[in-house]
Amino acid sequence: MFTPINGDPVALPPIAVTATTPASLTFTMPDSRTSLGRLLAGPAAITVKRGNVTLFTANRQTILPPMNDVQALVNQGSSVEVLAAMDRGGRLWIPLDFNGFGQNGESLPQCPTVLTPVTAFAIDFSLRKGDDQALPYVSFGQLKHNRLFLGDYVVFGLNMYGNKLQTKLDPSPAPATRSCSAA
């Protein structure tokens, strides 16, 4: 069930899941566009039942929108929008997928995994309210204190999804550009 801040709860139809191990449960969050006709993201509560018996409830979850396809975005035009989710702590989460650039990046021999090749592109971004109004909720200092997490990333057969990286993005301008990235 989605539990928007200051909004009414929105329930998704129940889905069948199977425990991954005796102590863990892994499942793909269903796309609400299929069942409700519109995309939902943000705060949510997950209840797991067996029959009518509630096994556990996870109340303070944050459901991310589908991964934003960065390769498609940079080919789309100079002005694009990405989907993000805000949690109850006022944190903004932006999932980015670089698979579109290919999966032939070079991995270290001792750490075989699928990587995307380094591809240079530039991006400038701001929060947006309406057609052109930026929202005053992000400071440069807060941008500098960003955190990075892995999405789906399999190494030695283990999916490292959700692991926080030790490094942060530094939004300092690159030479002759305002801000930029290279995947």
């Binding site: 100079s78 670089f98 995307t116 240079a120």
Partner: protein, 72 residues
């Protein structure tokens, strides 16, 4: 700027918003109160070769990691 770091297939970026984002007058909350995702506008998106050339001149990325493998 990301380069050497960002060979992961997927990343999730998170940053804290200012306190008013959760305040009573927050326009951001109003946008999300029906459960909709937040739209973040990206501008000046470019794959132009001249942009790439400038980026490729960088020795280190924003995580202070080398952008390209050292020459043998």
């Amino acid at each position: 700027m990301l380069c050497g770091l960002n060979d992961a297939l997927q990343l999730v970026v998170m940053f804290q918003l200012k306190n008013p984002a959760l305040g009573d007058k927050s326009t951001l909350l109003e946008l999300a109160r029906d459960g909709s995702p937040i739209n973040v506008k990206m501008e000046n998106v470019s794959l132009d070769p001249d942009v790439a050339a400038k980026l490729e001149a960088a020795e280190y990325d924003s995580a202070h990691l080398p952008c390209y493998p050292a020459e043998p």
